[in-house]
Symmetry: C2
Subunit: 333 residues, 2 copies
DNA sequence: CTGAAAGCGCTTACAG
DNA sequence: CTGAAAGCGCTTACAG
């Protein structure tokens, strides 16, 4: 089966390629009804399908964007990506998702690959360690927006959570419920990942505001696989925390595993709040109090910001945009 | 900033485009060292990046495949997609994911769109209601493989679970634990979705084999939003089931919500097994006994099958391939 | 060992 | 109202 091209249609309809192309692009302004019908019929009988690759080459636009996420394992990421896809599809853009797996090298590879594929723009959850590349895209006025994270001194706008507020909501709720010894666990901050750094900062700030001491031992950062150990260390303290804020969904899960394994009761033995509204929060026993991010809005806003950049070059940037977190009170504190 | 093309590199290096192209494609066989270096240097100083769209047009291969899932909300789907992406990336193929949202019209749209984008092949979780299109692709020898579902009389090979066995494992385990009144709930089967049909069939077969009566009332199929109601109906029966098999992750979640809301105890009041090993199964209270699908292997196998078809046209099909489910015994039965 | 030329399948400014 | 021609950025068979 030979592929049928615009030339075949032209021949069959006895018109030129130009006319067929006009037809395809709905420039009917001054096209004779009869011509139109002949083309229609030719397309129908030949089963013609336009070749978008050829079109893209000529138009220098693929109508697709790339999304490079830092780590697809987070529930947050999955939901945001879905929102991005929805928003793009409804503007007739396609989306290519790549998972950098927290690895700056992979991120670099994907950025280059996607640009070679001529995507019209990029949404990146930056690993943070490709500053030169980021800057280069900025200089080239290539449309990029960051999501979930910022990169210091790189003026690419970012859409993210008000992380200070997220921690504040949690700490305040703990305090309201009578807790004073409050800890926080996040995953590793060696790469200066924005949300983790800010959530810790927010926790410390909120503790101070509540007139509570900031105890270094109560603040743990460790990679996923070491969180069980972090829990053990924490609870071994002379005065162990009575409440713990989980920095994200993965941390929360590790905490719940630990709690179950050691037969602890929530909230009697340990109160828990998780940042990120995990799927099972509402029907877990006990139902988990969480700080929810508006994942859908974040993704939507990210896509809109990028599409705007793509379609009206040199739109001024409004800097970062922060969404407000929401406390969902359930039974774990 | 003008985009720099292969011509620019050629000019700068004082060679022809052909030579640069040879260089880019690593055909160094008989290229003078000096030429090589000049090209290298030109690429470096100009910051040249190849345009893959142009390349694809010429080569008639985009080195990307399309994946159209029926419904991205299933955890199964997410995991399989991830496995597909991994397998593709390691063969240097890109992946474009589309979510048909259980809608045959959307599916049709995506199939056409992706083919217009010249993807080299398609992995489809078929909605089942685009038979003409499926057949047409088959006739055109366009590389396609189905995942998770089959379509009757369309001889596109499918990779899926041994669903009969999945139900059998569950029923047998219930019976072993002393349960006799066993029900099953799946989502809607009006569209003849393979796994749902087969899981019900498997349930009925296994019940018979165990010498247990098949009670029509114990078999419920309803859309996600009506499952709470189905539970209510089930438990209102004179002789309500004491054990329930959840047809997939979404059904399980609805059941758990119902159970929590109505203060039932698992497994004392109701034993539960879920098909699909949900993320929270192990640390839920009680931990949920599940039938796990080898999602990673399924995705990997699907990608490999497709890539094989793409790279050696006319490879003979081996028909459907079924993976074995695994019973993960925990505390919910 | 390297280059000129044709062609992949489109679009569009321009001419008539 | 429609068409001839040039061009998007590559690749490759062929020639020298």
């Amino acid at each position: 089966m030979k592929t049928v091209t615009i030339s075949d249609v032209a021949t069959h309809a006895k018109v030129s390629k130009s006319t067929v192309s006009h037809y395809l692009n709905r420039r009917y302004d001054s096209m004779r009804e009869n011509t139109k019908q002949r083309i229609e019929e030719a397309i129908e009988t030949l089963g013609y399908q336009p070749n978008i690759v050829a079109r893209s080459l000529k138009l220098k636009s693929t109508r697709s964007i790339g999304v490079i996420v830092a780590n697809i394992l987070h529930n947050f990421t999955t939901e945001v990506v879905r929102a991005i896809e929805d928003a793009c599809i409804s503007s007739d853009y396609h989306t290519i998702i790549c998972n950098a797996d927290d690895d700056p090298l992979k991120e670099k590879h994907y950025i280059e690959m996607l640009r070679a594929k001529q995507v019209d723009g990029l949404i990146i959850f930056p690993t943070g360690n490709n500053r030169d590349l980021y800057q280069q895209m900025l200089n080239a006025r290539y449309p990029v927006v960051f999501l979930d994270r910022t990169v210091e001194d790189i003026s690419i706008p970012s859409i993210l959570l008000d992380n200070l507020q997220a921690s504040k909501l949690a700490v305040e709720h703990f305090v309201e419920q009578g807790y004073r010894r409050i800890g926080i666990i996040t995953t590793s901050i060696i790469n200066h990942i924005t949300p983790r750094i800010e959530r810790i900062k927010g926790y410390e700030k909120a503790m101070s505001e509540q007139g509570l001491p900031i105890i270094d031992n109560y603040v743990r950062t460790s990679k996923s696989t070491d969180i069980q150990q972090a829990m053990a260390d924490l609870l071994k303290l002379d005065e162990p925390p009575q409440a713990i804020l989980a920095g994200n969904d993965l941390v929360l899960i590790e905490i719940l595993k630990y709690v179950k394994q050691h037969g602890l009761r929530i909230p009697e033995d340990l109160a828990v709040i998780g940042i990120d509204d995990v799927s099972f929060a509402s029907f877990y026993t006990p139902a988990i109090t969480t700080i929810a991010q508006p994942t859908f809005e974040i993704g939507k806003r990210g896509a809109e910001a990028l599409l705007k950049k793509i379609n009206q070059k040199d739109v001024e940037d409004y800097g970062n945009f922060r969404f407000e977190p929401e406390l969902k009170i359930r039974d774990s504190v």
